[in-house]
């Protein structure tokens, strides 16, 4: 019963609408534990589906599911403490939408059906919209409207892309199930023009959701106005779900033998995203927006890696895991900072080692990790991407890629130093608490752990997802066959 992974959260979510507040808080953490356990069974033991025409585990889906589930659990722990500190309108709606959001993401991860995937991704937009609107300020209203409208239109175009893709593939059997794995197996012929058009619309559509420039405009607004735990989930889990759609369609083009086309598009969209993020990070005065632009940059890195292919694609999926862990840790740290300083402006923060040493440690480690310092995983993944690009002799692209990363680092470092050591003169509103720091430490520790030791199962899933058979090294010196 693979489908339970989204049915249970969905039903619980609907139920939570009617539960009292205290119980709602218990439900969201309790379900997180359950969800992670169930995900473990799906990923490492396998579970048959009730409707195999629509739902099916895939290596890339399993990776996303694993990341989503772990992240959700950490965020749920954090959220419970966060809710105790901050005033929240309509808490049952929040808890319910959080669970429905989890359900939609789970559905996106376990489906291989081309249209059901679309349905799930659109559902993630709708279920997360009320979460962004939680604080009910005018800014939150603006962010929510932009989020819903831009993402809905984007995903509508992705649906057009899906239809074009289906039209491109001529099948002798009209009742064949429309899963990505089956589509080409039963195909009698492929129309390259339609398939290319399908990929463009899919890339624009899901790319909007994933935050690729120039379709990224909703992302900084939504991430900065949403409550911090929600920003962590949006950035760490939601963007990956949208990426699944692009990755799978890219797989179709690869099987049809025209991957040069989708690769080129992915590479240049990725590079453009990195550069756009770098430009906006230079002048950023809001630390949550800073983190949001960093997400755009990292999505660009992933798109770039997948576009290059081979070793770089392996690196891209590794990057996806580590970005999710580290970026959500950063967003949770920013939640502590927002509670403490009462402002999202960089110039109204400072003196973190003195006022909030524990959050400071977490924030600095997260920043070091996301910038690609060892011992964090981004170091490995970005290195693999660069090596992969050099192997393919994409020298110009690699140069632009490295320049982009350097610019991002320069912009982010300036801001982070300002945030940490600036001149903060006021009083701390809410002192930091252990229970709001531990989930952050756990996220960072997991990233370090996965850098030192990558479980065989995850390694195999990544290799199968990008069809790359080679050695993957971790910093502990392990070499897997």
């Amino acid at each position: 019963m693979l489908e339970l992974i989204f049915i249970i959260p969905a039903l619980t979510g609907i139920l939570t609408f009617f539960l009292p507040r205290a119980m709602g808080r218990m439900v969201i953490t309790g379900l997180g534990v359950l969800h992670l356990g169930f995900t473990g069974i799906i990923c490492f033991q396998g579970l048959p589906a009730l409707w195999p025409d629509y739902f099916q585990t895939t290596p890339e889906g399993n990776l996303v599911l694993l990341v989503t589930s772990f992240l959700y659990l950490m965020v749920a722990f954090y959220t419970v403490s966060y809710m105790a500190e901050t005033e929240m309108h309509n808490e049952p709606v929040f808890s319910a939408c959080l669970l429905l959001f989890l359900a939609a993401m789970g559905m996106a991860a376990v489906t291989d059906h081309i249209i059901v995937l679309w349905i799930a991704i659109e559902a993630t937009t709708l279920m997360s919209a009320p979460l962004i609107f939680l604080h009910r300020s005018k800014e939150a209203l603006e962010a929510t409207w932009k989020y819903v409208l831009i993402c809905s239109v984007g995903i509508a175009l992705a649906l057009l892309g899906v239809f074009f893709t289906l039209m491109a593939i001529k099948s002798s059997d009209s009742n064949t199930s429309m899963t990505f794995q089956n589509l080409l197996k039963n195909a009698t012929g492929v129309e390259p023009i339609w398939l290319k058009a399908g990929f463009i619309f899919t890339l624009i559509g899901y790319g909007t959701k994933m935050g690729l420039a120039p379709m990224h405009t909703w992302l900084p607004d939504a991430h900065s106005e949403a409550p911090s735990p929600v920003s962590a989930l949006l950035s760490g889990a939601l963007l990956n779900c949208a990426f699944l759609g692009i990755l799978k369609t890219h797989g179709l083009l690869t099987s049809a033998g025209i991957q040069w086309y989708s690769s080129q598009l992915l590479v240049w969209f990725g590079l453009f995203s990195i550069l756009i993020a770098a430009v906006f990070m230079m002048q950023q005065d809001n630390y949550k927006r800073l983190l949001a632009y960093s997400s755009i940059e990292n999505m660009g890195v992933i798109a770039f890696g997948i576009g290059i292919g081979g070793l770089a694609a392996y690196g891209a999926l590794l990057h996806l895991i580590h970005h999710a862990l580290l970026k959500s840790s950063l967003f949770l740290s920013s939640g502590n900072m927002l509670l403490g300083f009462g402002s999202k402006k960089i110039r109204e923060t400072g003196r973190m080692p003195r006022y909030m040493p524990r959050t400071f440690t977490a924030f600095m480690s997260g920043f070091a990790g996301i910038s690609g310092f060892p011992p964090f995983g981004i170091f490995l993944s970005e290195m693999l991407i660069v090596f992969g690009a050099l192997q393919q002799q994409a020298y110009l692209q690699t140069a632009v890629f490295l320049i982009g990363l350097a610019l991002v680092f320069a912009g982010a470092a300036k801001a982070v130093i300002r945030i940490s050591f600036g001149n903060f003169t006021g009083e701390l509103l809410v002192p930091e608490k252990w229970r709001m720091v531990i989930p952050i430490y756990l996220l960072i520790a997991t990233s370090v752990l996965l850098t030192i030791y990558l479980p065989q199962g995850i390694h195999e899933a990544i290799s199968m997802a990008v069809k790359y058979q080679g050695v993957a090294l971790t910093m502990g010196g392990y070499i897997h066959g």
Partner: protein, 217 residues
């Protein structure tokens, strides 16, 4: 010989032009409802009319109900609570919009002609009508600044995509579940949009997206 499907497709094209030229929000919603009914009818008229089973007819009625009644009804309900019911100063004027619509049709016909070489056996008007509707929906999204008009633009865009998807109808007889899922998503989307429109009009006294320009950079 003139078929019902020809008439429907021509009416869809006409409704697109009317939508581009209408200044009142409620009139726009009415046009959209009309278009929604036609769009749900087309795949049925094209492929299933001779072999219709009871299930086909049931789903046809369901789709017409959602696209023609429920979705416009939700927007209508939201429009009742919004004070300004007219788009007084559109970003692009109405005459210019209609002219743009005509240009879109020409371009859509040209693109479809190019692409139809690849796919035979299609109704000659289907793709042009679909592309024009999609383009018009996108146009309304950027050329108007009332939140409700933008939501209507989104629905017109969806109508166009649905029309493009109906090319697939002849192959996929068993895909009702999936089609229904898509429709359900759009329905919930419209509900969410309606709620936000309501909030915008409460916070700013008018559901105009011109007020939504605080977040930048």
């Amino acid at each position: 010989m003139l078929h019902l499907s020809d008439i429907s497709l021509v009416l869809i094209l006409l409704s697109v032009l009317m939508a581009l030229g209408s200044s009142r929000i409620q009139e726009l919603i009415r046009i959209m409802a009309f278009q929604g009914v036609l769009v749900s009818l087309v795949p049925f008229l094209l492929e299933r009319v001779h072999t219709a089973s009871q299930l086909d007819i049931l789903f046809l009625l369901l789709f017409i109900g959602i696209k023609g009644v429920v979705m416009p009804g939700l927007l209508w309900f939201a429009s009742q609570r919004v004070s300004a019911k007219m788009e007084l100063e559109p970003i692009i004027g109405y005459h210019a919009s209609i002219l743009t619509g005509l240009v879109m049709m020409v371009i859509a016909a040209f693109i479809s002609h190019k692409m139809q070489v690849a796919s035979e056996g299609l109704h000659p008007l289907l793709l042009p009508a679909a592309f024009t509707t999609i383009a018009a929906g996108l146009f309304l999204l950027v050329a108007r600044h009332k939140a409700l008009t933008q939501a209507t633009g989104y629905l017109i865009l969806e109508n166009g995509i649905y029309l493009a998807g109906s090319v697939l109808a002849r192959e996929a007889h068993t895909q009702f579940v999936v089609e229904f899922g898509i429709l359900l998503d759009i329905l919930v989307g419209i509900m969410v949009m309606g709620i936000i429109v309501h909030r915008i009009s409460r916070s700013f006294d008018d559901a105009d997206t011109m007020f939504l320009q605080e977040l930048k950079g």
